[in-house]
Symmetry: C2
């Protein structure tokens, strides 16, 4: 704080993907040693993921840690805040964030606000897909997929039942865009190269399927390259399931709309995205204009060619959550990393111009090329108008991405990964670093606070042992609770802050139930529902209509916000 | 199967640590091309962890994947089975294992059985320690600790409350043995070197404490080296809390027996181990002799100097679960990797001798040296009688472990990690690859089996939507269940196999509760307890004494076996 001038202009950037990190990078570069502008970047993760290489991480060609960079290292001159955005107060110009172990709500003031929130994975109208499909969107997805595939091989090697073995050795990817095509190509490479370690798996038992709604994979590519990609993959044994849409998924099968089903234990779904919930609520309540594509409103901010949100000076949008008029005059800029980086540069320059009262410039950029890797030293590419497929395209693909990867250490490590990968078999270590305990028990010693008034409440507590004291500064009431009693129910039910502080008076063990778990159980076990309805009626007579009717108005087991899943 | 002769002698090795992997390695080497002996190794993880480097993984000096090797790669000529051992049938000479997605029970026959099961982490009589302490035993521990520490730094950087900030910046390790000393040294290095990225953390706010029950750390080392290690650590700001024992832990503090407490969000407990449950039950029921140390029986197999279990030909024990008479004639062999590897060599030779009816040899080995790293290019060591501390010892430590690390690719990668670490700051990426959803919902399409009769039951199911059919081949009964009804309760309550098959008859969503979760909830919410007591009374009148009294006999929320936590 010592090096800041009085009332610097505050630029707050929401999101740590390509758009957010590069906006911060260009902004701090332009600002140099200026002290009158402060840049702060907010993100849920403290690292930036180089998404184009995720399929290679999933296939074990590159270590997971080599495609991520700590944001603090990439933008050392910006402030960084690792937190979840809870809401935006457009009146007071502040972002409300939850951060820290106790999930305190903190306000972050801004003068200029940049939306770089991208999109989130969302599998609507496909029963079971959210539960059983793996996505290919962030590092955790890639990390999990790799370990899951290796687990399937381990199990298949010792599985006595032939049907079960077949499902373990069948790998299905939905979506024939870049992400889906690269994922099936890389998966095929991982499995094929690992089979030498599994003597009881016959290569003929392994099956790869790519499910795609259209007749042509890679529709963004020129038709000749789409066809080349398809031929390369088919030659390697990838079965094309074209013109087919996923209807549902279960732990052991994928069901298509045309009635077919594919028995599989590995289903990667690369289709299905939704706007970030913060973007959605800003569009609904913040007075922003929705972008339009082909005459239909889409869930993205309409921006001026300067990247300022239409009609809202001081607000900017970059990347996938922005509907930016294409410099060609037709439609919108595509949601690719290439464009996000260039948009970030224009946006940074225009923010400085806005602060300094200078004229702003228009976004102008033409795509340089388009590349898709297919695994096993082969790719398809069009660069500067030249089309390539096979090894040469693959070499170009590697070179381009190695050059784009931020940071020399990472580049060196990825280059080494690639080099070793040429000479050695894939690493088949199936990492088991996930926590499988479901519910958590916390222990508190006498005098310790378990929840504090004003915190964001996301858990319900059930006392297993000991005693606690509930005190509220507003009502002034003091209550003691003992074993088999619950507390924290109100904040979990009503999405408000904690209305009381709870301290252990004796050594206490408490069972912690997350909000999603609580809702799922209460709404589905009538006996629990009645129990909590009674409890609330007694404890909070003011809050409940007679007869506990409010229970019927409870939100459905909420689609848990990503923020909630990440908080640990 | 095609290359096996009729009735080969079957050697089954339980455990994939130093003892198990090296026994398999030496055995397959000795056997060469012999077809009359089959070696099979059983382990819960498909990789071998090079434990001595775990503290460096926790500190980010080495990538997690570089200290693990796939077991299939290390012992390509042995069969490998990734599974959990459920029990051993000593009569029929078979190991019962649970494996695969449905957790089917499979029997693995043996002629010679080698116990290499080591010990498990166990925090008894210290309330809250199992819940709130991190251990330093396997790869997941190291991986979690590193990410947890970086998360604390992220939160401390933006924490407005000074007390909360202090707890976030206080790092406590319990145990002054090798593991504890190396962990605090490496942690101090990680935090100190990462602070440059966190402008709002003052180095003076950071605190490291080592809690140790005795007055001297590293009691296994010569006294001069213990003292040197202590001085080196103290000079770096590690506070020694000696002669102190941990009494309890909560999410934000560690409590000592002498009444003191240390506010902290990071507590690593390196004390507290117990025998593997399989070893315990074999000792209790299998007719094995317990080892004795200083006249007291300990939970390990007493072995002959040939490593055969005392009085039980055909059974062998190697490593930490074995009480092997020391070749010096005094006491037992120490539980170190150095000894486990040498024991494995003798054991392998004696197993082949036993199969061939040749005389067996006695275990003979003297320790070569003893080393402990302290982080920041410093260590203490005694090798071949020479004592060293500081940089030279650290260099020796690195050289020895690099040479011991199995596999050239891993050695190259670790050497590169170490080289880059000399020139670049630590990677502060806080990986978020853990699953935070607690309860799981599964979706099933009509006709799919949810559980099959005979499977090991570890989950209870609550139907959220749809309908299922329960059919039992023994009772011949058919029952249909719908939304808000439960099934699978019996196998979860009684630890038996599934007594019926359950199939979806309509598209069904079911909530899956693990056994531990179920027990915790039922035993602590009286309303749920009554509900399930009634349910069981109606569904299984034969199994329940009148009045549902059996509920009082339910096992306490069980100390979940590691096998259960690992199955995914």
């Amino acid at each position: 704080m010592s090096d800041s001038v009085q009332n610097p202009a505050r630029v707050v950037i929401l999101g740590g993907g390509f758009a957010g990190v590069y906006t911060a990078k260009y902004l701090t570069k332009l600002l140099g040693r200026r002290r009158d502008v402060e840049v702060e970047l907010l993100s849920e993760e403290n690292y930036f993921v180089f998404q184009p290489l995720l399929p290679e991480v999933a296939a074990g060609g590159i270590a997971a840690t080599h495609v991520v960079n700590p944001i603090r290292e990439l933008v050392p001159k910006a402030r960084f805040r690792c937190c979840s955005v809870a809401s935006i107060d457009f009146e007071k110009k502040q972002v409300m964030v939850s951060q820290g172990a106790g999930l305190e709500l903190v306000s972050v003031p801004y003068d200029q606000l940049v939306f770089c929130l991208g999109k989130v994975t969302h599998f609507a109208n496909m029963p079971g897909v959210a539960e059983h499909a793996l996505a290919m969107k962030d590092l955790a997805d890639a990390f999990r997929l790799r370990n899951h595939v290796l687990r399937c091989l381990e199990l298949a090697d010792i599985e006595p039942d032939p049907d079960a073995k077949r499902a373990l050795l069948s790998f299905v990817v939905a979506g024939g865009g870049f992400s889906g095509v690269e994922t099936i190509g890389e998966l095929a490479e991982l499995v094929t190269r690992s089979l030498c370690y599994f003597p009881r798996i016959d290569p003929a038992e392994v099956r790869f399927s790519l499910v795609h709604a259209q007749q042509r994979i890679l529709p963004e590519m020129p038709e000749a390259l789409s066809l080349a990609a398809r031929q390369i993959l088919e030659r390697r044994g990838v079965e094309m399931v074209l013109g087919a849409r996923v209807r549902a998924a279960s732990p052991s099968a994928v069901y298509l709309h045309d009635g077919r089903s594919l028995a599989t234990r590995t289903f990667v779904c690369t289709v299905g995205t939704a706007p970030n919930p913060i973007v959605q609520s800003a569009l609904a309540q913040g007075g922003f204009t929705q972008a339009e594509l082909n005459g239909r409103a889409i869930s993205a901010f309409a921006t001026e060619p300067t990247l300022e949100c239409a009609g809202r000076p001081g607000y900017w949008a970059v990347g996938d959550c922005a509907g930016i008029p294409s410099p060609t005059g037709q439609g919108l800029c595509p949601p690719t990393a290439q464009f996000a980086i260039r948009e970030a540069k224009t946006c940074a320059a225009n923010i400085v111009a806005a602060i300094d009262g200078q004229p702003k410039s228009r976004f102008a950029f033409r795509a340089l090329g388009i590349l898709a890797s297919l695994g096993q030293r082969s790719a398809v590419a069009e660069m500067f108008g030249v089309r390539m497929s096979g090894f040469l395209a693959w070499f170009a693909w590697r070179t381009v991405y190695l050059a784009k990867l931020p940071g020399w250490v990472r580049r060196l490590r990825v280059a080494l990964d690639w080099t070793l990968d040429l000479f050695f078999p894939r690493d088949i270590t199936q990492l088991q670093v996930f926590q499988h305990e479901h519910l958590h028990v916390h222990h508190y010693e006498p005098g310790e606070a378990i929840v504090r008034q004003g915190q964001v409440g996301r858990e319900l507590y059930l006392i297993l042992k000991g005693e606690v004291e509930v005190s509220s500064s507003t009502s002034g009431k003091l209550v003691r609770l003992g074993a088999r009693e619950v507390f924290g129910e109100r904040a979990v039910l009503e999405d408000t802050r904690r209305n009381a502080t709870v301290c252990a008076t004796q050594a206490a063990d408490v069972l912690v139930l997350s909000r999603a778990d609580f809702h799922a159980m209460v709404q589905n076990l009538p006996v629990l529902r009645d129990y909590f309805a009674d409890l609330l009626r007694v404890r909070h007579p003011d809050a409940m209509p007679a007869g506990g009717a409010a229970w019927d108005g409870l939100p459905k087991a909420p689609a848990v916000a990503p923020a909630e899943l990440r908080a640990s």
